[in-house]
């Protein structure tokens, strides 16, 4: 077979011409009529003898008919079921109307999530489920200690506290001994098991793996998210109520890019990997959030600023298909973006580095990534910040980050509403004579749980600590130490688990190599 190289653009043009000629535009209006000026009665067949002769007859929503030898348009089918909570459409093949709910019930509890920007149950919300990722949360349900806002009153595990499970066995290893260096990449609870995403080094390559853990952290199954030849950098996982979403960066294309896929509860991919970042420059340090209807991603990207990075984002629908293209979320240099989903908005927090100065900024977007609050700086003259985390807590976004530059190496917090109004000014969240780093936040509605790493014990390494914060980010109760091993316990990623547990995935070198460990806090009445 002869191989002839040609530019594809040429082919597309040629093919278009060919298809136009071959398929035939079929109607000129006078076709089929006698032509009196010829003086000869020439029989021209009618345009149609039956409906099927008419172009577009297959579309029963915009029907055509054959009348008097001519094709005529018939009244179009109008679909409106009178329900503002459905999208009405006509199926061309049948001409029947369909009504698709505008909101989802992914957790199957019979209650739909509200439309973006609406509170659950309010008029026009089209849904009253306060948490469509959990079948245990819906209006009228009884509140129990399980990490879920069961009764949808805006508070998780009302008046409960969380304590380390067992000080004598403070954590279990998730990564295999031969997978070092390994590190946490994300943690989510499906209702049956945790999916702990972690990076593992195998044969010199870093893979993103998923470990399914039972409530005690025992590994019950594994999923390979990236394959053997690909070097992966990081990853995230979220639970939607029906399946997991996962995103990561790897360099299968010769450049670090962002990829996305969905996993079922067995860890099987639900489709091919979707390459999300569109530019051949590097795309790394991603964040992944579930809005209740779509996935939102943000990452740092070198396009336009190479070799520096800016912040870009993208949306992926529930079927794993892209929605729109990549969107520049912030102007100028930035890195380590983190997303949180509010009632009707998405908030972004990220790091801006100017020289040796580290700043944390935030901005608010609608669900289509249109900016609704212009970027504003959270850090101040006396407080620097890097690697922020952000969460939505009932009526506010809460941001936490650590200050690597100032004398006080502390974790700081800040809260603002969906309009960008400051609700809690910069507040120091940790007190340490040494270093506080790597905060993780979990929202409980009327309070928030902070987990972080600290060298305060003077043992030479970081240990994990936790404390409860009130809505003004003031401490409630006493802080608790979670880990007690030698070396560093860092990068905690926390999530709500079963029966009031909070799962925490983190990196630990207690065994002399970098491994991924899991521990949990348990819910306890005060």
């Amino acid at each position: 077979m002869k191989r002839v190289p040609r530019r594809i653009t040429g082919l597309v043009f040629a093919a278009s011409v060919a298809s136009a000629a071959a398929c035939g535009a079929r109607t000129t209006l006078d076709e089929g009529q006698p032509r009196p000026d010829t003086g000869v009665d020439t029989y021209v067949p009618p345009e149609c003898t039956r409906t099927e002769d008419c172009a577009g007859f297959e579309d029963k929503c915009a029907p055509v008919g054959c009348s008097g030898g001519k094709c005529v348009a018939l009244p179009k089918v109008t679909c409106d079921d009178g329900n503002s909570c459905t999208d009405d459409a006509c199926e061309p093949a049948s001409g029947k109307c369909t009504a698709t709910p505008k909101t989802l019930d992914l957790d199957g509890d019979g209650h739909r999530a509200p439309l973006p920007g609406k509170r659950p149950g309010e008029p026009g919300a089209c849904g009253d489920d306060c948490d469509d990722t959990s079948g245990k949360a819906f209006p009228g349900n009884k509140e129990v200690c399980d990490g879920v806002d069961n009764d949808c009153n805006g508070v998780v595990d009302d008046a409960m506290m969380y304590v380390p499970q067992d000080p004598t066995v403070d954590a279990v290893r998730v990564s295999e001994l031969g997978e070092a260096p390994a590190g946490p990449a994300g943690l989510a609870w499906s209702g049956e098991s945790y999916l702990a995403g972690y990076t593992a080094t195998i044969s010199g390559k870093t893979r993103l793996k998923g470990a399914f853990l039972d409530p005690n952290g025992k590994k019950i199954a594994e999923a390979r998210i990236t394959n053997n030849t690909i070097d992966a950098l990081e990853g995230r996982v979220v639970w939607t109520g029906a399946f997991f979403g996962t995103a990561w960066s790897d360099r299968r294309d010769g450049s670090w890019e962002i990829y996305f896929n969905r996993l079922n509860a067995k860890g099987e991919k639900l489709g091919p990997d979707l390459k999300v970042s569109e530019d051949p420059t590097w795309s790394i340090n991603l964040s992944l959030a579930w809005t209740g209807k779509e996935f939102a991603l943000a990452w740092q990207d070198q396009r336009e600023l190479d070799p520096d990075f800016g912040i870009w984002g993208a949306r992926v629908d529930v079927d794993g298909k892209p929605v729109g293209g990549n969107v520049k979320l912030a102007d100028g240099q930035g890195g380590s973006p983190e997303l949180a989903v509010g009632l009707g908005t998405i908030a972004l927090a990220w790091t801006v580095t100017v020289g040796k100065q580290h700043r944390v900024w935030a901005a608010v977007f609608d669900r289509d990534f249109n900016r609704v609050v212009e970027p504003f700086e959270i850090t101040g003259k006396s407080v620097s910040g890097v690697f922020p985390v952000i969460t939505w807590n009932k009526d506010r976004y809460v941001v936490a980050f650590y200050d690597p530059d100032s004398t006080k190496k502390a974790v700081w917090g800040f809260a603002f509403d969906e309009k960008g109004n400051t609700l809690v000014a910069l507040t120091q969240l940790t007190e340490s004579p040494r270093f506080s780093r790597y905060p993780s936040l979990l929202p409980l509605g009327d309070r928030a749980l902070l987990v972080w790493s600290d060298t305060k014990d003077g043992g030479g390494g970081y240990e994990l600590y936790t404390k409860m914060l009130d809505p003004n980010l003031k401490p409630m109760g006493t802080e608790q130490r979670i880990t007690r091993a030698v070396g560093d316990s860092i990068f905690p990623v926390s999530t709500f688990g079963p029966t009031g547990d909070i799962g925490v995935l983190f990196r630990d070198d207690r065994l002399g190599s970098l491994q991924t460990f899991f521990t949990r806090l348990v819910c306890k009445a005060k």
Partner: protein, 185 residues
Amino acid sequence: MRWVLACALSISASIAGCGGSVSDEPLAYFDDAGNIIETGTVDTAVDTFVPDTRVDAGRDTGRDATYDTWIDPGCPDAPAPKPVFECDPLKAPPGDCPKGQGCYPYVEYPDDPCEHEIYRSTCITAGPGKQGDPCSSTMCAAGFACVASGAGNVCVQMCSPAKPGGCAEGLVCHPTDVPGIGACL
């Protein structure tokens, strides 16, 4: 979490260690009947046809969506090649290098999806950048590497991830995309 060595600094530019010169211009091979046999792009640097391993996903109508889905080329499992180090980046400066130079690791990226990266190190003139200094346009000092950290491209002290505890107080040794080379952050 791992960090990547930034391609920004002159080490990569001078050695072309950051690879990837595949043009965006698409090319296809056709048979005599005009059917596409294979699609790909032209690597303009070496005028070579690079076959696609991707297929277009359903394009979205919004903005500039050009997402691809990935078809696994089915690369065989193989151990990664060992680093080709001219010098040891973890030795105290100047280590294996002449005075005034430093030993810097970098990555050569493959064009073929089934090929491995090649991890290299070389001696070049050391720059002034110390811990936390920006390195988008300046070299790092000997013993420091430029990493894309999430808080800017910064010089960081190199360390061994296999030997935790080799960083200054408050800093932790994180693995980078070069096996065996860590960064104190």
